[in-house]
């Protein structure tokens, strides 16, 4: 259009011109959108991380497309179609992708950061905490309290962080004379899944006197199962959670837990991703954040 700059200036002032973003993005082949894939947005830790992601994307002029996969592979695949359709510039996942070569292939060379989760191989950045250390610390705390039969409520092992936390648990338990081990796997990070897992643990011949759950939500469910069995936390069974969400303060007794810097994890994930988008040649990075052990009434 033959608009003179002067006319354009006036035009901008008067009528609040808004460029068509689709056209701009097609031309520049940059969408300024990031796909965020989580397995369950209702998990408070997920929600906190997503908040951190949003804060940082906003600062950098990006938007997020949220996919709440529910760990459903078809839904995940369909969302990844956005990548090949050039709808998004990059992807942040909190889901278990390491074990899903099909999905990994779909991502291909697209900039990708794993958040609170890790890839074994490939050129993918990640940000999280040292899950082994945190797990070992929690178990040692239970031992120091006098617990002998410590059980683990874990997420399924397609998550690398679940394998790492289990490794920490086993390392410490194997050091003990007693040689006790009991592990239940929750199908999802929900209250009901945690409750169901604890109910199974309570059926065992040798009842646990301590439980470490890999999320506060699972730990809350475990405490409910313990209560319904007529037992007391922490007198009969001590309970430790993971994540350090506000939920840990909402339940009774309040949860002893490992606090992750969830907002920061989200923010850093975005920083790493944008670095990769701006410079595709930059190598993958692994960022390890600090965690804190928070002692409350449950253990």
């Amino acid at each position: 259009m033959g608009w003179s700059p002067i006319f354009l200036t006036g035009f901008f002032i008067v009528s609040n011109y808004q460029p068509n973003l689709l056209a701009r993005q097609l031309r520049t082949s940059r969408s300024s959108m990031i796909l965020v894939m989580v397995s369950n947005i209702a998990n408070p830790f997920c929600a906190d991380v997503v908040k951190g992601i949003e804060e940082e994307t906003e600062k950098n002029g990006y938007r997020i497309l949220l996919c709440n996969s529910g760990s459903d592979i078809e839904r995940s695949k369909s969302s990844l179609g956005l990548l090949s359709g050039k709808m998004v510039d990059g992807i942040i996942t909190m889901d278990a992708f390491s074990k899903l070569p099909e999905l990994t292939n779909m991502i291909g060379q697209t900039p990708w950061v794993q958040c609170a989760e890790y890839a074994d191989t490939g050129d993918v950045s990640c940000v999280g905490i040292s899950d082994i250390d945190a797990s070992e610390f929690a178990i040692r705390h239970l031992l120091a309290r006098g617990c002998r039969c410590i059980a683990l409520i874990n997420h399924d092992l397609s998550y690398k962080y679940a394998r790492l936390r289990e490794q920490g648990y086993k390392t410490v338990m194997l050091e003990q004379e007693h040689g006790y081990q009991a592990i239940e796997y929750a199908s999802e990070l929900s209250f009901s899944a945690g409750k169901a897992a604890m109910e199974k643990l309570l059926q065992a011949a040798e009842r646990p006197d301590g439980v470490f759950a890999v999320s506060d939500t699972l730990a809350a469910g475990a405490m409910r199962a313990i209560g319904e069995a007529g037992l007391k936390v922490p007198q009969d069974i001590a309970v430790i959670g993971f994540d350090g969400t506000e939920l840990a303060e909402m339940v009774s007794p309040q949860l002893t837990t490992i606090e992750q810097p969830s907002r920061d994890i989200g923010r850093q994930a975005v920083s790493l991703l944008i670095k990769k988008i701006d410079n595709p040649e930059s190598p993958a990075e692994r960022l390890m954040m600090d965690w804190h052990f928070i002692v409350r009434a449950s253990a």
Copy 2:
């Protein structure tokens, strides 16, 4: 390109052609994306509604762009820029927009549905429950239990649903001889805001013996404040929440609450919105869903 259909067929099979979505959307002037604006994704009710929204959008080939506004007006405005940029075909809000003419103007003629919230005017569809009825029912339950001094922990009154629930509360309280009323406003739907509100209520000369909070999260905070004041729920103060999220089962004592069909509210919002997108001439609709009163230990 001069590709014959036969060649194209082979091409599709072999190399998994993925069309560029930006180009398609520019050409068809349809983005198949919906903007979803919530004030706080960490609120479990919000998360549940968003899950319902996602289910239904997925069925219909739409995607969602999530904006977690935190009730921040600048962030909301920036997200609404996506509308004028033709990035999204419609918008679903769970935020208080009625009182924000500036934002309402930005939305203009774009298809818009309010979710669990209502507009006073304008051509905007909404889906929710009868907040007045639900609120009155809760208060009458507390009265029937023997409560006399019933307080309300409300969200701020820029939310229409907050005004409606307050109206239900006042209607019933004014029928009583005692004439008691006490209202505190929480700045956000969080545990800490609910706790703070309850602490203020406990400072009053006449202590409440019943509390109705307009969200489970607020109610959970109120119960913590009550506990820290050395009082018992429900013996000293009975507590009722709102939403019927899983959180209500996670706290101790478990919360009596009003259950909203959150998933369905989300799904219906999408249906209404798509109807409007497909047929811009269709009139606005108001959908009222059923709610259920769930009695547990807290009242």
